[in-house]
């Protein structure tokens, strides 16, 4: 436990000592701010129009602002995740510092968990920043807070899975760019796996859709905590971390 904490601290430090964390935070905040602004702008326009045309049902902020924003946030995250994981192991391999970690009295799994958790923490900080935008909704509107919290939880789980995959890919190379590009490719693929289910009803399309990371986020952003979807993300996390530990082990046998 203590060793995980030591690694976690070191990794988080290196995110925040280098400009990486600040760059990601700034970009995330700016892009999300823009999304938020246009989304709210559109919502105002649409609700004004619906009032003018005599509609008396007030439009739901949750339905028309929060939900699409949450799924947009996932998309932005898709671009940021490779940048967060690519250096985790690739850098250590390039600099040779992996020898220090591997010859210290600390288990592989502690190294892996420490590193992965630091990436998850950084992602959580990114999400936290977007909370500022939502605070305005609560100040001037009256949305339901539960779907928002559950939506955040879903995003964190989704990112956790993708970050685990990214961590694994980072152990495969000593080149950060390769690790980043490969992670982006795999994440994007996991994202679009559900597309065939839009035109195909056969079993394989359903399987593909089930494997996609997007399919399982819907319930969360609706504010429903569905065990089935949570289990999917937890399995993805487990798979990623398991592959990472196997890869680290094979590193020793090969190198």
């Amino acid at each position: 436990m203590r060793n995980i904490w030591v690694i976690w601290q070191k990794e988080l430090n290196s995110y925040f000592v280098s400009p990486v964390a600040y760059l990601l935070l700034t970009m995330f905040a700016v892009i999300f701010g823009y999304f938020f602004w246009s989304s709210v702008g559109y919502f105002n326009f649409a609700s004004l129009q619906s009032q003018m045309s005599g509609g008396n049902m007030p439009m739901s902020v949750n339905e028309y602002v929060i939900r699409p924003l949450l799924s947009n946030m996932g998309v932005i995250g898709l671009f940021f995740i490779p940048m967060m994981t690519m250096r985790l192991f690739a850098e250590e391999k390039r600099l040779g510092t992996i020898e220090l970690l591997a010859t210290s009295p600390i288990r592989d799994i502690e190294i892996i968990l420490g590193k992965w958790l630091s990436a998850v923490t950084l992602y959580a900080v990114l999400l936290l920043f977007t909370g500022i935008n939502f605070a305005f909704l609560f100040r001037y509107g009256n949305p339901d807070w539960k779907p928002l919290v559950i939506g955040y939880l879903g995003l964190l789980l989704q990112a956790g899975g993708l970050l685990a995959i990214g961590t694994f890919i980072s152990t495969l190379t000593s080149n950060q760019i390769i690790a980043g590009a490969a992670t982006f490719g795999v994440c994007l693929l996991l994202w679009v796996l559900e597309w065939p289910s839009g035109f195909e009803t056969a079993g394989w399309a359903k399987v593909l859709a089930y494997m996609s990371v997007v399919t399982h986020i819907d319930s969360f952003s609706k504010g429903v905590l569905d065990t089935k979807d949570a289990v999917y993300y937890l399995s993805l996390i487990f798979l990623g971390l398991f592959l990472t530990s196997r890869s680290m082990e094979s590193l020793r046998w090969r190198s």
Partner: protein, 332 residues
């Protein structure tokens, strides 16, 4: 302290380490000598539990590297070929991090960091970024991290590579001062380094242990016959180097004379003596008495290559490289 038996490491196609067995007792400094690619680093990586052996066993401080790697790692300090430092960390921060990795904490860690920084002479840069340090400092930071947890066994992979001569001497002194409390294995391809720091030598070539001996014995083995470089100049005009060579060959105790270079009126010879004969005085007299100038007379340093060839029983190299050249050439 360290027992290695039949240690073998096989990679996909190559045999990096081939059935090596040796033993190191507590408090000794052992030099691991061999050319690049001989299997030094691989053996060290096995001892530090970085790599598993393909065959054989290695026991460090009473624990097997395969069975109880965590126990071994607790008792080992390792400086790999390139110091495993993080560029973006400050020296003090880095040493603290390594200390924590090794299971230390709190005030005792802070004290130890200060102590180690003092001992490795990096106290003056402890608040600097490692990325901004010179190679020499970085190497010493690497050494500092290896001894931070006061390990029983220190494994140093070419600890003086890339240092300037002054730093090399300081580092050797430091390593010598660490012996006693620590058992040290250091690898190098520089012979004088072994002579100056180590008590015991393991010579490894192409994955095989070629010789295990004390430094003293090794020197005798390599230097049983004296080898002398000699530059002779004709006093008036050009001289025939053949004539000089014949004259030198007649000197008592000379076994072989090689003409190394001949330029105008100057000729350079390498003269080898018979075993256990000192020939320098006789050589000088012979040259001067024949009416030539003796420009230079110095013992030719046995290069590592030559010793290797002697030990492995191969043929003599064409152009032996002086030890100094080996130092500079290979440390780049």
């Amino acid at each position: 302290m360290i027992t290695v038996q039949g240690l073998t490491k096989r990679y996909a196609r190559t045999l990096a380490v081939d059935h090596i067995s040796f033993e190191v007792t507590k408090g000794q400094i052992v030099g691991f000598l061999g050319p690049n690619g001989a299997g030094k680093t691989t053996t060290m990586r096995i001892l530090t539990c970085f790599l598993p052996p393909s065959e054989g066993t290695a026991n460090v401080a009473g624990f097997d590297v395969l069975e109880q790697p965590l126990e071994v790692k607790k008792r080992i300090g390792y400086l790999p070929e390139t110091p495993p430092v993080y560029q973006e960390m400050e020296v003090k921060e880095y040493l603290t991090f390594v200390g924590k990795l090794k299971g230390m904490s709190g005030q005792s860690l802070a004290n130890r960091v200060a102590e180690v920084a003092e001992r490795t002479a990096i106290a003056d840069v402890q608040n600097k970024l490692i990325g901004k340090l010179s190679k020499g400092y970085r190497q010493r930071v690497g050494l500092a991290q290896a001894i931070i947890h006061n390990p029983d066994v220190l494994i140093l992979d070419e600890p003086t590579a890339g240092l300037d001569p002054k730093q090399i001497i300081e580092t050797r002194d430091l390593i010598r001062s660490l012996a006693g409390d620590h058992t040290i294995i250091l690898s190098t391809h520089i012979l004088p380094e072994v002579e100056q720091t180590c008590e015991q030598v393991l010579i490894i070539n192409k994955g095989k242990l070629v010789a295990t001996d004390s430094v003293h014995n090794l020197q005798n083995r390599a230097r049983g016959a004296e080898s002398v470089m000699l530059e002779v100049e004709g006093r008036s005009g050009a001289i025939d180097s053949q004539t000089i060579q014949h004259r030198l060959e007649t000197v008592n105790g000379v076994s072989r004379v090689l003409l190394k270079d001949s330029r105008g009126d100057r000729s350079v010879f390498e003269v080898e003596s018979l075993k256990d004969r000192s020939i320098r005085g006789d050589l000088a007299r012979a040259v001067v008495e024949s009416g030539w100038n003796l420009n230079e007379l110095r013992p030719a340093a046995m290069s590592l290559e030559e010793i290797f060839l002697q030990l492995t029983g191969s043929e003599k190299v064409e152009e032996p490289v002086p030890a100094e050249a080996v130092v500079q050439g290979e440390s780049q």
